[in-house]
Point group: C2
Chain length 121, copies 2
DNA sequence: TCCTTTTTGATAATAACTCTCACTTGAGTG
DNA sequence: CACTCAAGTGAGAGTTATTATCAAAAAGGA
């Protein structure tokens, strides 16, 4: 994997945005500093970075795939109302071990969904 | 909401398939008994049924939105390898209550992901 | 049966993403 | 530093899931 300007800008955008950004959001951010970048380059690089373990694909939400630059073990909460993705830093090792013991599922991620405190108010 | 033949067949398909089907899977099943049904009708009715609480939208997986006719409280496990969706019937009320107490998140669903026992072997 | 309103089917439109391919660039090699 | 060439890029076409449009058909009450 070569160290191109585009790749640097994409990874930097993921960190600066820090909002579990989608390809479109990354593109909109990068295109301001590097107007000639193509969306294909953004999509391509995000996929490669997931492959390489530099980013995590946190799934499709509201029609767009979102990514996370925080690769240490953690989970997510997704608000069904405002669609915001929030990190959940608790350790659920005990719960996961119990499920794995019974069903054999090796769980690596948990996505909680519901309504956040802001939207509930 | 009128009781059309199409709507009956779609709901019946969801129950018969019993695999957390996608719109495409429902269409392929229904079209065999009712060859003139349109995909638009399937998409439209699945959305309406979610709105009406007759089905649950369990999110986009592998590019397609999947639905569940089992509306009683339960969670899901998604195998990242075979993409299979499995019901998880444990009650996590204690865990959820703790999170809600700290962060104010009112969690209604949990999606666990990882590797299932079959794919792991 | 008639009337009104909802629903349907066909098709066009949209949105997110992927593919293709000629041109460009990164980074080793001499 | 110039050379080489595989990897990467940009532009645009193609694909796939889903939604919008709208005339025709059907549901269900009067």
């Amino acid at each position: 994997m070569r160290n191109t300007i585009q790749r640097q800008l994409i990874l930097q955008a993921m960190k600066e945005l820090d909002i579990h950004a989608s390809a479109e959001q990354v593109y909109q951010h990068v295109v301001q500093q590097h107007p000639t970048i193509s969306k294909a380059t953004v999509y391509r690089n995000l996929s490669q970075m997931v492959e390489a373990g530099e980013l995590i694909n946190i799934g499709n939400l509201d029609g767009q795939t979102h990514f996370d630059h925080n690769c240490h073990a953690h989970h997510h909460f997704i608000c069904e109302t405002c669609k915001r993705i929030v990190d959940v830093e608790y350790d659920f090792a005990d719960v996961l071990a119990k499920i794995q013991g019974i069903d054999g599922f090796a769980i690596s991620n948990i996505a909680f969904s519901g309504v956040c405190s802001t939207c509930k108010a």
